[in-house]
């Protein structure tokens, strides 16, 4: 259409506008007349040979024209009345222009007036939705376009020339048809309805045509055309949408969160990303770059909404995670969650040594490197021509595929030989087998998990790795001091929301609700108390308890640990023994935790390139739960572990 508009630059605009408006008005007035006339047109054109149909249409039009000269004049007069109005609409609705531009090349390709008309009618209906004034404009255009297509079929090479000349005739044809019944009454009320009927009719007619035409070549050509047109329309729609958001975006860059109902607008990710960057920039230097009429909260809520949209989080989760970081860091964090973490394997020191294993795997073409100074058993796999989880070395139990973060709680636990150790939530056994390896298969390792299905993998891994000192059981972790107590060390890798492992399991982004968090934190608090009560404080080598989660929210970490400190004054937090990681929060959103929470450790995907993780290490110094004084606790130390465990349980139940 744009092409046509260009052509028309030489032609007086008035004439064009007149025609358009004239056409629309009459067309809208009554659909009955329209139908009959079209059918007549159809029938007559059927008599013609398909290839010359377009030509015949023109003849037909001329015939009609001759029959009904008054119509054309009437229409013209009508159009004149509307001229000013349409002109203004054209200027105000600048955004429809590009859509038409995109449509431009269509008529040129068009061989069949019916098809093109049909398409344009569709376009019309879109325009109607967007604006009443527009309707007239584009509606009229569609008619024109169809006509042009008619001609183009015969004079495809000289489109620009022919177009302008026969157009008046063509125009009049349509108006005539419709006008004959409409008698120029401007009945706008039924406009929408009528148009819908028109559309249906058009397509009907089109299909009729289709059947009658025995020319298969033409048929296929039409199909191709239809496809092309559909594509072009989709493209146009896209551009249109983009344009709309552009308008919105330009204002929003400066005025984020302008109005609430902008949510309904189609949003485009590139735009959102730009806005995220813009707001981040403003927030980084808020004093100078802010819009004075906007509060920081406005910017932040906008940013959160955008981030939630861009990275596909629910708003609840976005809020939860965003609050943990500064603005720039939050962006890094969300970005890091989109990238997979490196594949790490842990050498099973019960069966192999890291150097031998590395050599064996290198011989298989695996590209790997030691994971870093912090671990003597980890290897990072960069690429592997063989599946790393099915090599003979893996099957022989020489290594375990294990996230780097899951080394940490075990390193913090620091198991010693001949101890009695409990892993409360053991499946699928990555940490458990690491503990067993550090214990060198001595002492006793109790591996518990509440999920029986997952324990199959746990048992398989234990056997594959050659671990022989374990008892695997299927208790609820909260049953623990009753089932068995007096452990030297306990690892509780609590069930959690998994906000640290979003790169592994992105479903967390959307699925978790506040209810999930409430249930989980409750369970975690029960488990941590059960765990602490199962420890023997008098152990010569141990008395340690490690709490860890693969989550980074404060509710599941600091809050739970703080709760344990309050409920069990016979434990204290000690250094985790891990050289890196961030310190735990001591206060968060108005909550104040015990200052010793500084010694706990947080790990983030964006800073440590491992899954988000949290580790806290407790030392139990007394088996009695008396509140502050260490005196009575000391006297209790001499007594046997069993009654203590019972006492602790009793205390737990009274809580």
């Amino acid at each position: 259409m744009g092409r046509r508009q260009n052509n028309k630059q030489g032609v007086p605009q008035d004439v064009d506008v007149e025609k358009r408006t004239g056409k629309t008005v009459t067309k809208r007035t009554k659909f009955g007349g329209n139908r009959t006339n079209r059918r007549r047109l159809q029938e007559e054109s059927k008599n013609e040979i398909p290839t010359t149909r377009a030509l015949s249409n023109i003849e037909l039009t001329r015939k009609r024209q001759a029959n009904d000269p008054l119509r054309a004049n009437g229409a013209k007069a009508n159009g004149n009345a509307k001229k000013v109005k349409v002109g203004s609409s054209a200027t105000t609705n600048g955004r429809t222009a590009p859509k038409k531009d995109a449509k431009g090349p269509l008529p040129k390709r068009g061989r069949n007036a019916d098809i093109d008309e049909e398409g344009e009618e569709e376009l019309d209906s879109e325009a109607e939705i967007s604006m009443a004034e527009d309707e007239q404009d584009s509606d009229a255009d569609s008619g024109e376009e169809a006509d042009a297509a008619l001609l183009a079929s015969d004079a495809s090479d000289m489109v620009s020339d022919t177009e302008d000349i026969p157009q008046p005739a063509e125009k009049r044809m349509l108006w005539d048809d419709e006008g004959s019944d409409a008698s120029a009454s401007d009945d706008h009320d039924d406009a929408l309805l009528d148009d819908e009927f028109d559309e249906a009719l058009d397509s009907d007619l089109g299909s009729d045509d289709f059947d009658s035409g025995s020319d298969f070549e033409a048929k296929s050509r039409r199909t191709v055309l239809r496809q092309q047109r559909d594509e072009a329309m989709a493209q146009a729609e896209l551009e249109d949408a983009q344009l709309q958001t552009n308008i919105a975006g330009d204002t929003l860059d400066i005025l984020p969160d302008d109005d609430a109902d902008e949510e309904d607008q189609p949003t485009d990710l590139a735009m959102v990303q730009m806005r995220i960057q813009e707001i981040t920039r403003v927030l980084s230097n808020f004093k100078e770059m802010r819009d004075p009429s906007r509060s920081r909260a406005d910017y932040v809520t906008r940013l959160q909404k955008d981030l939630a949209l861009y990275y596909d989080y629910s708003e609840f989760m976005m809020q939860k995670l965003y609050d943990l970081f500064t603005v720039a860091e939050a962006l890094e964090f969300f970005e890091a969650n989109e990238v997979p973490r490196p594949v790490i394997i842990r050498t099973n020191t019960l069966k192999s040594r890291r150097r031998d294993l590395a050599q064996a795997l290198i011989n298989r073409g695996v590209n790997l490197d030691p994971v870093g100074k912090w671990s003597k058993v980890g290897l990072q796999v960069f690429e592997s021509p063989v599946p790393i989880g099915a090599t003979p070395e893996y099957l022989a139990g020489q290594y375990m595929i294990q996230a780097a973060s899951s080394f940490l709680p075990v390193m913090s636990l620091a198991p010693k030989e001949n101890e009695r150790i409990l892993d409360m939530c053991a499946a699928p056994g990555g940490k458990t087998t690491y503990i067993a390896a550090l214990m060198k298969n001595t002492g006793l390792l109790v591996a518990n998990d509440a999920n029986r299905d997952r324990e199959k993998a746990l048992v398989a891994n234990l056997h594959r790795m050659g671990v022989k000192n374990t008892i695997v059981c299927n208790h609820d972790g909260r049953a623990f001091p009753k089932v068995m107590g007096g452990f030297d060390r306990i690892l509780l890798d609590a069930p959690c929301s998994g906000t640290g492992v979003i790169s592994k399991d992105p479903s967390v982004k959307m699925s978790k609700t506040s209810e999930d968090f409430r249930v989980l934190t409750h369970l975690q608090k029960e488990l941590i108390l059960a765990g602490i009560d199962s420890i023997d404080a008098n152990s010569k080598t141990g008395g340690y308890f490690v709490y860890s989660t693969c989550s980074i929210t404060v509710d599941e970490n600091e809050d739970v640990v703080n709760y344990a400190l309050q409920k069990r004054p016979n434990v204290k937090l000690i250094d985790t023994g891990i050289s890196f990681g961030r310190e735990g929060f001591t206060s968060y959103q108005g909550k104040h935790f015990h200052p010793s929470l500084k010694s706990t450790r947080r790990f983030y995907p964006h800073t440590h390139n491992m899954d988000g993780f949290y580790v806290a290490k407790f030392k139990k110094f007394s088996n009695t739960v008396t509140s502050d004084s260490k005196g009575p606790a000391k006297s209790q130390i001499k007594s046997k572990p069993k009654p203590k465990a019972v006492k602790a349980t009793a205390a737990a139940s009274t809580d």
């Binding site: 003979p392 022989a396 199959k456 398989a460 022989k468 008892i471």
Partner: protein
């Protein structure tokens, strides 16, 4: 969980002796730490007595495994060795077969071992003798039963089956759900 009956012990030891021969005594009378066999849900576990005593705390229903699972008794009261016993079998095995790298994967997929894949074999291995299979890096990857004696081996063509497959470490992946 209970100790094995006389009958069960006989069946088990007879089976184990096929692989480890007289070394079986080392398994029963451990010099380091007393170990015992325990039957739990038709599976036989080999475990140190200290751990066995601790495990009585745990209800039968909740106990899934302890120590090392050696295998299970079938419904017809035969004993079937599982690949999980490989560690101990490899430690005390009398007869061994090493397979070449190109024969490693076929064996791990559960196939018998053809002559072409055999890298080394213990001298004087008789026919129908339980053997432990190693790869050339001396890592045990399964066990089986010889189809021919070492003496016969030389005359055979390369495709002839020498060792019948019984268990391989590939089962950790293939049969994880049925093995435990």
């Amino acid at each position: 969980m209970r100790p094995l009956t006389e009958e069960e012990t006989k069946i088990l030891f007879f089976k184990l002796a096929k692989y480890v021969g007289k070394n079986l005594t080392y398994l029963v009378d451990r010099p380091d730490e007393p170990h015992c066999f325990r039957l739990h849900k038709e599976r036989v576990y080999y475990v140190s007595e200290a751990i066995m005593r601790k495990s009585v705390n745990i209800a039968r229903n909740q106990l899934l495994s302890l120590g090392t699972c050696f295998g299970k008794f079938t419904k017809t009261r035969k004993f079937r060795l599982h690949v999980t016993a490989l560690d101990y079998l490899a430690q005390y095995a009398k007869y061994k077969v090493w397979i070449k790298p190109n024969g490693e994967m076929p064996f791990l997929y559960g196939n018998h071992i053809a002559k072409a894949h055999i890298g080394r074999i213990t001298e004087d291995t008789p026919q129908y003798q339980g053997v432990v299979i190693y790869n050339m890096a001396d890592v045990p990857i399964g066990f089986g039963m010889t189809a021919r004696s070492t003496a016969e081996l030389r005359k055979l063509d390369p495709t002839a089956v020498i060792v019948f497959h019984q268990a391989d470490v590939g089962e950790y992946l293939r049969d994880e759900n049925t093995l435990f």
